[in-house]
């Protein structure tokens, strides 16, 4: 029983990081209708930026995050402005372009770092506290807390602020949003920027527990795709709970079945959910279509 609980907690904490990455992916998908294949690579870039501050200035990743998040926000705005916006009338091309970006980012980082692995060790990363029979890694627990705050904050912002309402309006009916005076490019820039900024937060949380390599984004993008579909396209809370769920399934399957099968297992769950609930756990049926309505 203790083992089970420990695995459950480990999965939940891993899920927190999946949630953060998935929320960012979902934001771009939900609003721009672009599947961002480069999102994992953006997490990777953020980790290297964090490492840069660690190696050059000796900054702890948790302090560097206040620099990394704005840097990644600007990086995301750049992705929108230079890659997605020029292709705005060709949705398929936008998706292909993100795939190209993934390869460019990976290879650029590979060329700069020459593929040598790096890692960041902080006191915190080894800190484990025990609650009764449970052993909880402090860093991973922090990830869960941060992911929860961000998911709640973002969902509330989308719900209650005028800008959040404008973003939801664009999701539901873009041409009418324009009639209301919403500046589509400005909102899209903001969303891609926020998505990358969230990748920056994820990077700070990952820094103490993950060793750096140019391909590390792959470990996150696949679960994140599953999470986004599982949780419901365009639903922030769906992405949050979906991330936790995938983390738990992965941890349980890795322990009780076979570590090499863990991904196969959550893909089975993923397919099962889609058969039972095609719109995802918290999605709305047809929500993936409303954004594609034509002219007003």
């Amino acid at each position: 029983m203790d083992t089970f609980l420990n695995i459950l907690v480990a999965g939940l904490l891993l899920g927190g990081i999946y949630s953060l990455v998935s929320i960012g992916l979902n934001l771009v998908f939900g609003v721009l209708r672009v599947v961002n294949f480069a999102h994992g690579a953006v997490v990777m870039v953020a980790l290297y930026v964090t490492y840069f501050f660690y190696a050059v200035f000796g900054l702890d990743p948790y302090i560097a995050v206040v620099l990394v998040v704005p840097i990644m926000f600007v990086f995301g705005m750049g992705i929108y402005w230079f890659i997605l916006r020029p292709l705005q009338d060709e949705p398929m091309m936008q998706t292909f372009a993100t795939f190209g970006l993934l390869i460019v980012l990976q290879n650029t980082v590979l060329a700069i770092t020459r593929g040598e692995p790096h890692s960041m060790n902080t006191e915190l990363s080894r800190l484990v506290f025990s609650i009764g029979p449970l052993n909880v890694s402090a860093v991973r627990a922090l990830s869960l807390v941060v992911a929860t705050i961000i998911a709640g904050g973002l969902a509330a912002a989308l719900r209650y602020t005028l800008t959040g309402k404008a973003i939801r309006g664009l999701i539901q009916d873009r041409p009418v949003g324009v009639l209301m005076g919403i500046n589509v490019r400005q909102m899209y820039t903001l969303c891609v920027g926020m998505s990358a900024a969230l990748a920056g937060v994820a990077a700070a949380l990952l820094a103490p527990i993950y060793s750096l390599s140019p391909g590390l984004g792959d470990d996150f993008i696949l679960p994140a795709f599953a999470v986004v579909v599982l949780g419901g396209l365009g639903s922030t809370m769906g992405a949050y709970f979906g991330g936790l769920l995938v983390g738990i399934i992965e941890a349980l399957a890795g322990f009780y079945i076979d570590p090499t099968l863990k991904q196969a297992i959550w893909f089975l769950v993923f397919i099962a959910v889609l058969i039972l609930r095609p719109s995802g756990l918290m999605g709305r049926l047809g929500a993936e279509e409303v954004g594609l309505r034509g002219n007003a």
């Binding site: 949003g177 324009v178 009639l179 209301m180 005076g181 929500a287 002219n295």
Partner: protein
């Protein structure tokens, strides 16, 4: 007085397809102008072109002296030009209140938002009752009211309406038209109304245009067109 719209030689369409050709139209400040035409004549396309949702292939559209092509699409509502799209097109997964708030999204309305919202809920009591309901679950009449209120939230000087009577029961049509006919006096704005409900539209319009296959074939005072034998034959079934 503002709210003056003038189109000269406008052509517009979708991709390579020209729908509108050589359109001249004028809505004087404080006037109520109607455009009538059959299905597919290009009425909706005309409003889209004015609102900047599709580009003009030729000609100019000027609003209170500003050439609209010089503005970005989202800036047009800030100049005082609002539109009620065909079928209302509310944001379906948002509440009535949220729809109204987005109507006043542009920054020019900032100091007036609260009062404007209170005015709308007073003007449309049914919306006050339904304020927390999802717009997608409103009845056809409520939806049309909400769409008109949302457009008014932007404090327009010209309101464009695309077939506001579409799908409404006769009682409701009368209500909506009474409201629209009163707008120029009530709120000092101009109105450009697109309708297939020809009888009512011509009765209330100062000026009316007849659109056929993308071109205006007739223009005159609403009352005169009501007596025009061609209009009677083609649109009034007389």
């Amino acid at each position: 007085m503002s709210g003056h719209l003038k189109l000269a030689g406008v052509a517009a369409g979708y991709g390579q397809v020209r729908v509108l050709r050589d359109i001249d139209l004028e809505v004087p400040a404080g006037g109520l102008v109607a455009v009538i035409g059959a299905n597919g004549a290009g009425k909706t396309t005309l409003l889209r072109a004015i609102a900047g949702l599709i580009p003009c292939a030729a000609g100019t559209i000027a609003f209170d002296g500003t050439v609209l092509a010089r503005l970005s699409d989202y800036q047009i509502v800030g100049r005082g030009l609002a539109m009620v799209p065909e079928g209302g097109r509310l944001f379906p997964f948002m509440t009535v209140l949220e729809n109204l708030e987005l109507g006043a999204y542009h920054s020019g309305t900032k100091p007036h938002r609260k009062r404007e919202l209170a005015d709308m809920l007073e003007l449309f009591p049914i919306l006050a009752d339904r304020r927390r309901q999802m717009a997608g679950s409103l009845s056809g009449g409520e939806r049309q009211m909400c769409a008109i209120a949302r457009a008014l939230m932007s404090r327009p000087t010209l309101l464009m309406l695309d077939e506001p009577s579409l799908g409404l029961a006769p009682m409701m049509v009368e209500k909506v038209f009474t409201l629209i006919a009163g707008l120029p006096r009530l709120r000092g704005m101009s109105v450009l109304l697109v309708e297939q409900n020809v009888q009512d539209a011509l009765e209330m319009a100062d000026t009316a245009y007849v659109l056929e296959r993308g071109m205006f074939v007739k223009c005159g005072a609403g009352k005169d067109l009501l007596d025009d034998p061609e209009v009677q034959g083609a649109y009034l079934g007389l």
